[in-house]
Structure formats: C-alpha cells, structure tokens
Symmetry: C2
Subunit: 226 residues, 2 copies
C-alpha cells in the first residue's frame, strides 16, 4: 500500500513460459507453423534465445489447449483441424457467445451499446464498399465488444481458447457473397436485439450466426481435402 497504488498496476510481467506459449501460439495461428507439421523445438529455442526447459513448459500448456499434440518421445506436432473438430467446437462457441450476448444485454451501459452501434455503422459502410478486410476486422471488434461487455472472465477465457483453435481455418475460409450477405443480415438483427436489450433474442442470433460460420469453414475444409 503506497502512494502510487493508483498508477501502478501489479505489473504482472509474464513469466518466460507464458510469453513463449503466446509467441508459439501466434506462430501457429499466423500460419508460420503449418497444421500437421512438427514443432521444431531446437529451432524455436534458438530463435527466441531460450533454453529448452521454458519452451517445453510452454509446449505443455499449448498441448493442454489442444493447439499442439505431444506424442510421447516423438515431440510436438501442430494439431490439424478436422471437420469433426469444427462440428464439435462451433456449437460450443455458439452457446458461449450466446451467453455473452445475454449478459452483455443486461450489463452493457447505453454508451457501450452505442459504441457497438457505431462499429456496426462502420461495418455497414465497409459492406457497401465491398471492403472485405475491413469488414472482417470491424466484425471481430463487435464480437470482442460483446464478449467484454458480458464481464465474465471465465466465459471470455473459454471462448478465446476455442476461437484460437479454429482461427486459422476461420480466416482462411473464403466467404461467398451470399454468406457475406447473410452474415451482415444477422449482424443487423444482433444490433436490434442489443438495442432492445433482448438477451434471449441476441443469444439465438449469435448461435445461428456461428452455425453458419461453421458451415462456411466446413465447406472450405471439405473442398480442401478433395
């Protein structure tokens, strides 16, 4: 308890293995480490300038999150995402984000909702301008805002840990014009529910929104394998 308490955060510098876990996760979702490929322990050690111990600790937690799989005495491999995984993961993300929507409807301030509306308006423009990259980015921000608005750390953590697993696929999957239109229409509904503070409605929309996203990703996985 000192005079700087207000300014100073507990300053939780990340421990080495946490930092490494994050970095390696970035490599995986970023595509630098391809699904199904081996995680080059030695190279990574050299690249990050650390010894094997902290890196291996990081790999253990990544394995726990199913981002990589550790085959005993064979090393670590980037777990490829299968259609079965997508079919399992998206419904779970659906109910989680549904809950987030419910909570956000109840807990978000009017100003908070207005902010999301602003993001939606921005996205509207990007849709009209056919700015796919911008659209995706703003889209992401809206979902993020809802998750934060739910004010539930456990919920956020669980959702993120699933989101990261499908992230590469999520972004890689091409979105057809029809699907894009559908996604936008669903976002319209989301905003309406949010402004009406209709939690149940928002939850419903978010679930189907994710169901549709799952379909997109599944289509892509199917055609990629064939």
């Amino acid at each position: 308890m000192n005079a700087f308490d207000a300014q100073t955060r507990p300053l939780k510098r990340m421990s080495l293995h946490e930092e490494l876990a994050q970095k390696v996760a970035e490599l995986i979702v970023g595509g630098e480490l391809e699904p199904g490929s081996k995680v080059p322990e030695k190279e990574l050690c050299e690249a990050f300038g650390v010894s094997r111990t902290p890196l291996r600790e990081a790999l253990k937690v990544l394995a726990n999150d199913r981002l990589i799989s550790l085959e005993p005495n064979r090393g670590a491999w980037v777990t490829p995402i299968t259609p079965a995984d997508v079919e399992d993961i998206y419904p779970v993300m659906g109910v989680l984000e549904g809950l987030a929507g419910e909570l956000a409807c109840a807990r978000l301030s009017d100003a908070g909702i207005a902010q999301i509306r602003a993001l939606h308006t921005e996205m509207e423009g990007q849709y009209a301008a056919r700015d796919r990259a911008g659209f995706i980015k703003t889209n992401q921000k809206i979902h993020e805002a809802i998750l934060v608005g739910a004010r539930n750390e456990t919920l956020s953590a669980q959702f993120q840990s699933l989101a990261i697993r499908v992230r590469q696929a999520r972004y890689a999957a091409p979105v057809s014009d029809e699907r894009w239109a559908l996604a936008f229409a669903e976002h319209e509904q989301m905003i309406m529910c949010l402004e009406a503070r209709d939690g149940a409605g928002l939850a419903r929309v978010l679930r189907t929104h994710l169901d549709h996203k799952a379909e997109t990703v599944l289509d892509w996985l199917d055609q990629k394998s064939s």
Copy 2:
C-alpha cells in the same frame, strides 16, 4: 488400418507430466491441498519420486486451468474459489450442460435414454430413503451420462475443466431439504424432457438447475467467510 482395429486403441500411455498434473489435481479437489495454501514443490517431488522438471511442467498446465496460480519467483498457490468465480463459472457451465442436453436429446439412443431413466429411478429410491451420499453419486452419473450422450469431446472437456474448479465447493456446500427437493423436482423435469426428446426444454431445465446449484454454493461461501 489393420485387422485388430476394433480391439486395439492407440495405447496412449500418459507422459509423466500429465500423470503428475492429474495426481496434483486430485490432491487439490480431494482437499489434501487447501485453497490458498502453497503448493509444496519439493515435498511433492519426493512424494511422487520424480524430479522437479516434470512436476513443474505439470504445475504450468494446472495454472493454465486456473487450478493453481503461479506467482513469479514466489511459487505455486492453490487458487481459492471466490464468490465472483462462482458467479462467473456456473452460468458458463449452465449453457454448456444445456447444449449437452440438447445434443443428448438428439443423439442418444432409446436404450441410452432408458439407461438414464433407470438411474433416475434409482435416485428416486435414494431420495425417498434420504440417502444423501447415494443420491449425489447417482446424480453425478446422470449428468455424466448426458454429457457423454452429447458426443462432443470439446464440450465435455470444457465442462470438466470448469467443473473441477468448483468441485471442492460443490461437494462441501451443504444442501438444505428445500434445495434437495427442488433439485429432485428438476431432475423429474429433465427425464421428462429427455424422453420427449425436447432438447430446448432440457437445456432450459439444466440451466436453471445449475443456477440453483450456484446459489447453494454461494450461500455456503458467504456464510463460511463470515
């Protein structure tokens, strides 16, 4: 793909750190390691007859699951469960088990549902006989059966990782007669929904069921702290 595929599983023996993580988790949920207390690295190494490296790897994954928290240069501590945690966790478990209910309704065979009905009947007897311990055990089996019936590994994993965090509190919290009666009534509804294959209804019941459980745990935490 060989002739023994039906009998042979990939034979995934656990690596040392996995086994240790499980053992330490058991110590925590079993109450041998009290919430808020320090995780005695050295003692555990000696107790399990392993060196520090694999144990510390295990601690990293337990920390990732929020079962313990690693304070840099201060060691590992069993994270105590707070009312805020319960308020965060139970709603999430609620939607997860709700989804499990929906999926189970759709995917469970008639025989599977009959099995759960049998468990319910068994529990009915235990309720009438005021066999609290037996009731809890059968109760657990029913919820487990629903989760398995959902046939969604991701869902199961996510649910279990949350359940383990509240497990000590869950079992320690005393259940009043009224709450017990309520829980039983809710189970009656669950069975009815399940046999009618009313997924949405089952989901609803399961969510409120967990909401009530959360209240029980919260009451206990509140009175314990005072």
